[in-house]
Symmetry: C2
Subunit: 203 residues, 2 copies
């Protein structure tokens, strides 16, 4: 407190691109190795920087993880847009969008999040609150019944698909073109979004 608002001397912060380079390296490390497997030292080397600089910018490993893994889009918004366009086809739209996002490696943070959520409680909380929670409120605002259960089931299928295709690398899932995977998975998603969860078929 009492930090005078006019102090304008000294080197200005944020002028260099180093911070972004660290975040980039961290995203890659967390995506490839998960929270525990990624090391601050390796991230620093990848960014061409001293490990202590990472601490200087982000404080500690957990904070770095939180900032690096922030998802680059709102899954809830994706679902809302898909429902607004064509409710009967929302499953396919959502599946297409996620596969696109995962295949474009500029947005690999979701994979790192999933990979870390499995072993690290703080990452699991980010998935729960940031991703599934958002979808749940989006469904609720559409007036759907049991939005929490539906959002969870959707996450179930999408996370499973991501793990199979990108992490465990099950060959058929790796080889299949996107549209084929979409066709395979869309009906299940459609059912979770707007179908009757107690009966076999129907919407």
């Amino acid at each position: 407190m009492m930090t005078s608002p006019d102090k304008r001397s000294g080197r200005r912060p944020g002028s260099t691109a180093t911070r972004e380079a660290i975040l980039l390296a961290a995203r890659e490390a967390f995506t490839d190795s998960g929270y525990r497997g990624a090391t601050i030292r390796a991230i620093a080397v990848a960014a061409g920087v001293d490990p202590a600089l990472v601490m200087h910018f982000f404080g500690n490993k957990e904070a770095l993880f939180a900032e690096a893994m922030r998802p680059p889009f709102e899954p809830a918004a994706v679902l809302a847009a898909a429902m607004a366009a064509d409710p009967a086809n929302a499953g396919a739209v959502v599946a297409t969008f996620f596969l696109d996002a995962w295949d474009s490696d500029s947005r690999r943070s979701l994979l790192g999040l999933v990979r870390s959520a499995v072993t690290e409680e703080s990452a699991a909380a980010m998935v729960r609150d940031g991703l599934v929670g958002g979808v749940e409120t989006a469904l609720a605002s559409l007036g759907t019944d049991r939005p929490g259960m539906r959002a969870s089931l959707i996450a179930t299928q999408l996370i499973g698909l991501a793990i199979g295709r990108y992490i465990v690398r099950l060959q058929p899932l790796v080889d299949a073109p996107r549209n084929e995977l979409v066709a395979a998975v869309a009906p299940a998603l459609q059912r979770y979004i707007s179908g009757d969860l107690t009966k076999g078929e129907g919407s």
Copy 2:
């Protein structure tokens, strides 16, 4: 070679229950923390034993993991039995069986396998070959088309469900009774087992 078959002096091996205690502790540790998170020292403490004894019995951490995480049942056999009994209902049978297996904590090794497969390549290989591969050959011997893709899709939904309910702990999935989850997920599984993967509905 040339180990004389009559040497019968000295303490006999395998007489104590210590080895089993170590395996039990290892299963619990790997299940709770994954491969990297679990430590030999913690496993030794939990088993009431010196860390070096763990090495003495199992050689190294990876071998211990492989022996501790061997799945206690054959998923392929489960699917085959379900198909033999009632093909149109196999999805529900498989879902029921897996939820039962996961809820009975005497068989938590599958969870540890999933948890570790996400960060450890050797564990991922066990999932690929031991679990998904078995289901694939089971489907193939039933004459189903595209058994590899089907087995992978089944794994996708089951692994996603396990992660959501037992690892990330999405509340709706944790709270829901088993039969409700079975009803929610069975149609998707049924489609992956015997449905048309290119069209929306139908079997």
